[in-house]
């Protein structure tokens, strides 16, 4: 539940920081299941320096991206990040990205609330008209969470992924501002 624009009941949005987030991503990317849920890139452990450079590069190439760290309210523990990027400003659209790296916080509503906060940010501060995302067919937990937030499956890139010797679709989902407003 959104308490204020950066704060929910369980998590709050904090400043993303290439250094801190780079180090955490290095740790999380050791977990191949995390990598495969998050990324199309071949899952491989990557060091902190490489992650920091990747984040810094992202910030430079997409300066209007709004990426935040996700911290628990209870212990102020950094568990992942969430954000909106690839903004098409004239059209009012953006892409959602979210990753909860700490396994013990999966499936407990923390990621869900982070998504709720970033959607609130996108619709009430950036005044977007719609938010898009891609998600892998095998990430059932995330798909369910997005549907609960009102996202609609708009398309499927069939057999886009090849992992563990089988093919998987990548889903395209979208949420319009009107739909989000109606749910509040």
């Amino acid at each position: 539940m959104v308490v204020s624009i950066f704060r929910g009941e369980w998590v709050r949005l904090v400043a993303a920081d290439a250094g801190t987030d780079g180090r955490l991503m290095a740790k999380w990317s050791q977990d191949s299941e995390f990598r495969r849920l998050f990324d199309t890139m071949a899952a491989q452990p990557m060091g902190a320096k490489a992650w920091m450079e990747a984040f810094a590069g992202d910030m430079e190439s997409d300066p209007s991206a709004a990426i935040f760290g996700v911290c628990t309210v209870a212990e102020d523990r950094r568990i992942g990040f969430v954000g909106l990027n690839g903004m098409g400003w004239t059209h009012g659209n953006g892409w959602l990205t979210v990753a909860i790296g700490e396994r013990e916080f999966w499936g407990r509503g923390f990621g869900s609330e982070a998504v709720e906060l970033i959607l609130h940010y996108g619709f009430a501060e950036l005044n977007l008209h719609r938010v898009s995302l891609t998600v892998f067919e095998y990430n059932e937990r995330a798909i369910h969470s997005y549907e609960k937030r009102g996202f609609v499956v708009e398309g499927r890139a069939r057999e886009h992924l090849n992992r563990d010797r089988r093919r998987w679709d990548m889903l395209y989902m979208g949420l319009l501002k009107d739909e989000w407003d109606a749910r509040r």
């Binding site: 204020s4 624009i5 950066f6 709050r12 949005l13 904090v14 400043a15 993303a16 920081d17 250094g19 801190t20 209007s64 709004a66 935040f68 619709f123 009430a124 501060e125 950036l126 005044n127 407003d181």
Partner: protein, 185 residues
């Protein structure tokens, strides 16, 4: 007003140079307060890490002849209270823009802002010899509007529906204070 009257040392507060090493954490905390951020910025509000706050200061320091940035510190315990800056300076026309804020709600309404404003205006008119100071704010910042108007600022421009936040539109408001008006108060 004579040269003996201190420009930077007041009763409740002093105007101090920015000190990122000391203050970055405090400022970073303020940027996590959306109400604070929405008072001072038209850009999408973003919390900043201490490292980013420090980086911003580097840019400020490079700009030393184009802007005057002061930390507002409490005289009692030298605590960081807020900031006041003059930028957008046009030397040939004698004008600048003022932005100031008290970081924590607990510190507002205690006279810190009022004293800081008088000191920064005296600096602008008596040290920089500017002709006029402008300030830009938002229709939803009623407190800020009252604060400036009590000091003599007059509303000069209403930009209709300029700001879009929280699902509705607000006017953007420019206020101005001429040196002659300030001197006659």
């Amino acid at each position: 007003m004579s040269i003996a009257n201190q420009l930077f040392e007041g009763e409740l507060i002093r105007l101090a140079p920015p000190d990122p090493e000391r203050d970055a954490d405090t400022e970073s905390a303020w940027t996590h307060d959306p109400d604070y951020m929405r008072l001072i910025s038209v850009d999408p509000i973003r919390p900043l890490s201490a490292a980013q706050v420090k980086k911003n200061y580097e840019a400020i320091e490079k700009d030393n002849d184009k802007q005057f940035y002061f930390a507002i510190r409490a005289m009692a315990d030298d605590r960081l209270i807020g900031f006041a800056k003059l930028d957008g300076i046009s030397w040939t026309h004698g004008s600048a823009r003022l932005t100031m804020a008290i970081g924590s709600t607990a510190d507002r309404g205690k006279g810190y802002g009022r004293e800081a404003l008088q000191m920064i205006l005296r600096y602008a008119f008596g040290e920089l010899n500017l002709y006029r100071i402008g300030a830009w704010t938002f229709e939803y910042n009623e407190r800020g509007l009252r604060f400036l108007q009590k000091a003599g600022f007059q509303v000069e421009v209403r930009q209709r529906q300029s700001i879009h936040r929280d699902g509705r539109r607000w006017d953007g408001i420019w206020l101005g204070l001429l040196r002659s008006e300030w001197e006659s108060k």
